[in-house]
Every structure is written in C-alpha cells, then in structure tokens.
C-alpha cells in the first residue's frame, strides 16, 4: 500500500473513531469508554512486561492508588477532580518510583513477588481502612466535568488514550526505547554496552505507574464509584490477558487485546459464569499456539510469503 493511501485511510478511520458517539447507543458508548481505559492500562503494562521484561502484578494496584487518591481528595477537600486526577497520577508515580528503586535491582521473579505483595497490601488496606476508603462499599466520587455526559467523557478518554499511545510510541522509538529492548533481550549485553539496566527499569516502572494512576483516576471519575475490586488480582488478570492475547511487546497488541476482550465479554454476557474461564483458556491457547497474540498472527499472515524459514543452530535448553 502506498504511503499516501495509508494517510488517507488513517484520516478516514480517525474520522470514524471521532464519530463513534453518534453511531453508538449509550450502552455501547459506555463499553467503548471502558475499553479505552483498558487500552491505556494494557498498553502501559506492556511497556513494562513487553518491553523491559518485568512482570509486575501491581499495575491494577497503581490504578487503584490513582483513583483513590484523586477520589478522596476531591471528596474530602472538594477540589476539582481535574486537579486531583493529576495528584493521583503523581502519587502513583511516586509509589512506582519507590517500589522501583527498592526492588528493581533484583529484577525478575523478585520484582514480580514484590509487586504482588505490594498489590495485595494495597488491596487489604483499601478494604480495611473503611473510614477513609469506605471499604468494600466503594467510594462515591464526583464527576470529572461536574456534569454527566458520556459523549464528552468518550472524547476525553479518546484524547488521553491517543496522547498516551503517541507518547508510548515515541518513547519506544527513542533511545530510551532501544534501551528498554536491550534490557529485555539481554541484560548482560545491555549492561556491557553501558546501559544502566536498573535506571532504565526504574524509568519504565515509574512511567507506567504514573499512566496507570492517571487512567485509574479517569476510570473512577467516570464510574463515580471506586471499589477495592480495582486493585484485585482478577482485574490484574484482565490487563495481563488483554496484553497477551493482543500480543506482548508490540504497540498495537494491547490495544487489539483490550478491544477484543471487552467486546467479547459483551457478547458472552449470557454465559456470565464462564467468561473469566473463557478468557483464561483463550490466553493459554494463545500462549501455547500463537505466542505473538493477535498482532503476531496478523503479521504472520501478511508476511509469511516474504519471510523464509530460517534454520539455525538452536539451544535445546535456554539456560
């Protein structure tokens, strides 16, 4: 396809996305807004897991931190959510930075376990400090705009999603992005060519925490209710499943995964009991048979002709 054709199509698609509120009814607009939230969450988690190889289990917890900080500030201090949202994001970033500095030098499994512990601690504290967080009852928070409009919210989410994805794309293309990738591929090699792997990881971790915190705040001020469920492991599972099904380590993967799973879960609503099971099974199948996810499959189909199979000396054991 020629470049000009692509640009034209791009403009058309952009136009359609922008027009979505006029094409969808209220309910599907609601689904679209939630989808955008998951797009942000999965994309920013992917920055960690897909690009620097750190499987963090605290991403949902960071979103919850952002949401609760923003929610509590806006309820108790009556500050506009537009300002508290930023506070939430900053606090999530600070937590991310702290956690990153504390455990990233160990990396690998230790990072996963520490983030898991952190996530559970956040979850338990939110549930138990009901005087501040209202526990499982959920915290009612004001609307971001002061009035309720799904269309307006959709555009805000869309704008934020585009900015974040654009930022992530730039980041991945930049020197930093190359550093991320080299950290993922070979830590030893990365450090031998002078990349401070710890610093790179801490940067990635902080950025993704900040994004999660911001997204969490937006989500909370949209639903008008924040509950501890936001920081639960099943929420984390959704983010993880979306990234994996879409394709880890690619920019479009998490987006495709989030959209696919959100829409799928609407279609299988009648099988409410089974949808987590189904997502789990799909994820396992994807890992087993199509490790590249949706994006990987797409690339395989479109590029299979040009890419001859290479047979190389391989290691039977990876370690």
């Amino acid at each position: 396809m020629k470049k000009s054709n692509k640009n034209l199509l791009l403009v058309i698609f952009l136009g359609i996305v922008v027009c979505l509120p006029f094409l969808l009814d209220d309910y599907w607009l609601h689904v679209a807004i939630l989808t955008l939230f998951y797009v942000i969450m999965a994309s920013s988690w992917n920055l960690l897991a897909g690009y620097t190889g750190q499987v963090s289990f605290a991403h949902a917890a960071f979103a919850a931190i952002g949401a609760y900080i923003s929610g509590i500030l806006s309820v108790q201090m009556s500050i506009s959510p537009l300002i508290t949202l930023l506070f939430g994001s900053v606090i999530a970033a600070i937590f991310g930075l702290g956690l990153g500095l504390l455990c990233l030098k160990m990396g690998g499994i230790y990072l996963s376990l520490t983030t898991l512990g952190f996530s559970e601690i956040v979850h338990i504290i939110i549930k138990n400090e009901y005087e501040i967080t209202r526990g499982t009852m959920g915290l009612e928070v004001p609307n971001l705009l002061g009035f309720y409009s799904k269309t307006a919210y959709f555009y805000i989410m869309l704008l934020v999603t585009f900015i974040i994805i654009f930022f992530l794309a730039k980041l991945i293309k930049s020197d930093h992005g190359l550093k991320f990738k080299s950290v993922l591929n070979d830590e030893l090699a990365a450090s031998s060519i002078g990349i401070d792997t710890v610093k790179v990881r801490v940067i990635a971790f902080t950025i993704s925490s900040a994004i999660a915190g911001f997204a969490g705040g937006l989500y909370g001020h949209y639903l008008l209710l924040i509950t501890p469920e936001m920081s639960s492991l099943s929420q984390m599972f959704m983010i993880l499943a979306m990234t994996i099904i879409g394709g880890m380590g690619t920019l479009s993967g998490p987006i495709a995964g989030a959209v696919f799973l959100q829409v799928l879960s609407e279609y299988i609503r009648i099988f409410g009991k089974f949808h987590l099971l189904l997502f789990g099974v799909i994820s396992l199948l994807v890992i087993k048979f199509a490790p590249g996810g949706i994006v990987g499959l797409y690339r395989k189909i479109t590029q299979s002709k040009t890419d001859p199979l290479k047979i190389e000396t391989q290691s039977k054991y990876d370690y």
Binding site: I311, E312, T313, Q314, S315, K316, Y317
Partner: protein, 234 residues
C-alpha cells in the same frame, strides 16, 4: 571410537565452529587446546548434546550422537567433568557420587566403583557425609572427577581442569588423569593451559577462532616453535 566430522555450529547469527574434525582412539588422552573464545566450550556443549549442529556428525562407536538428548549421551558412556566443577553443592559428597552412578549400567557396580573412587581420592572418603559445598576447590575438582568416573565412562570429557586451581593442586589432579590412562579410560581434555595439556596427553588439537589449525602427537607439538611462541611464551 569417537569422531567429530566436519562440525559447523552457529550461535544465533555467529558461525562459531568451522568444519571441525577430530577423533579419539580407545585408551588415548587427547587434548583440545585453544585460547578463550576459540570455540572450545561450544565444541564441548555440542558433543554433550546441548547444541544442535548445523552440519557435521559426531560418532561414538560408529553411532551418530549429535541428535541424541544429553541424558542418552551420558547413558552411552560419555561422562563430563565440567568447567568450574559444578558439583551439587546442596548434597553430600556421597550423594554426589551416587548421582554420578545414576545410569542403570553404572548403578549395579556402585559398591565396586565407589571403593575405587575412594582409593583414587582418599580425601573424599573422609568427607563422605559432608556437604559438597563446603569442600575446598581442589577437593571439589576431585569430587567432580569422581562423580564422572562413577558413570563408568568409556569417554571422559574433561573441561578446563586447571581453571581456578592452585598450581600444586592442579598437578595433583593431573596425576589422576595419568592414572586413568593406566586404567585404559579414554579422555578428551579441553584445556586453556597449553603446557599442562601437552604434557599430559597423547595427541593434541589446536583450535583457533573455531577452526582446527594444528594437530599431532603432543610430544611433537611441544617441540613446535610456533606453539612454544604462541602459547607457552617461550
């Protein structure tokens, strides 16, 4: 009995071994020497079935083994004394030797073999119930050799025996290799220490950047001026 024929190995995109061929006859001690990065460890890993060759054959008693998994290769009678010893530190000395005799063929002769190992390395007998991680470097090397010998090997691959050992201890350990020659155990010695390797082997191959550049009787090679200059600094 043991042949490597025109072996080509890639690691990722990098061509590491180029048409490497060598052979070892029964009862011989053959050394492969080369500097760091010459492809020695790649050669060992391929023989042990850890890497799949792009082309070439490895034959052991005329049987192709390059497509066999590691444990089958071990069961056929190729034992390995790894570089850096790599003993099972969380287990006792005795247990290490037990694991060495895991293949059924060797297990039936366990009592006989362990007696022999204890004769060879009396120190291992006195430390039998001690955790292997607590042994000194030399003792660990002895344990690594003992463990490999428990397998009743037909071919013993010895990888960088001298690495990280005091010269005196290295000498002691090489005495054992000589003892093996008397016992008619075939040994393939991969060494960085050229002097030691040449003095303790029958024949020798020299590996440089993935190619065999020179081979011959050790007793002759040791007199070779080029080698003396390049490797022994004389």
């Amino acid at each position: 009995m043991f042949e490597v024929i025109k072996l080509n190995i890639f690691r990722g995109e990098i061509h590491v071994l180029w048409d490497v061929s060598l052979n070892v006859e029964e009862g011989e001690i053959v050394a492969v020497i080369g500097a760091n990065g010459s492809g020695k460890s790649t050669l060992i890993e391929t023989i042990l079935g850890l890497l799949i060759p792009k082309s070439g054959n490895i034959k052991f008693f005329n049987k192709e083994i390059s497509n066999q998994p590691s444990y089958e290769i071990a069961r056929m009678g190729i034992a390995w004394v790894p570089e850096g010893r790599r003993i099972f530190k969380n287990m006792s000395v005795y247990e290490n030797l037990e694991i060495g005799s895991y293949p059924r063929r060797a297990r039936v002769n366990f009592a006989k073999n362990i007696k022999w190992i204890y004769e060879l390395f009396p120190i291992l007998k006195t430390r039998a119930n001690k955790s292997a991680g607590l042994l000194s470097g030399g003792e660990q090397q002895m344990l690594a050799i003992g463990r490999a010998l428990m397998l009743e090997p037909k071919l013993l691959l010895v990888d960088e025996l001298s690495l990280g050992l005091a010269p005196k201890i290295t000498q002691e350990v090489f005495e054992v290799i000589k003892e093996l020659r008397r016992r008619k155990i075939t040994v393939l010695l991969v060494e960085q220490n050229v002097d030691l390797a040449l003095k303790n082997s029958d024949r020798c191959y020299i590996l440089e950047t993935g190619k065999v550049t020179l081979s011959g009787k050790s007793s002759e090679l040791i007199k070779n001026k080029e080698i003396r200059k390049a490797y022994l600094g004389l």
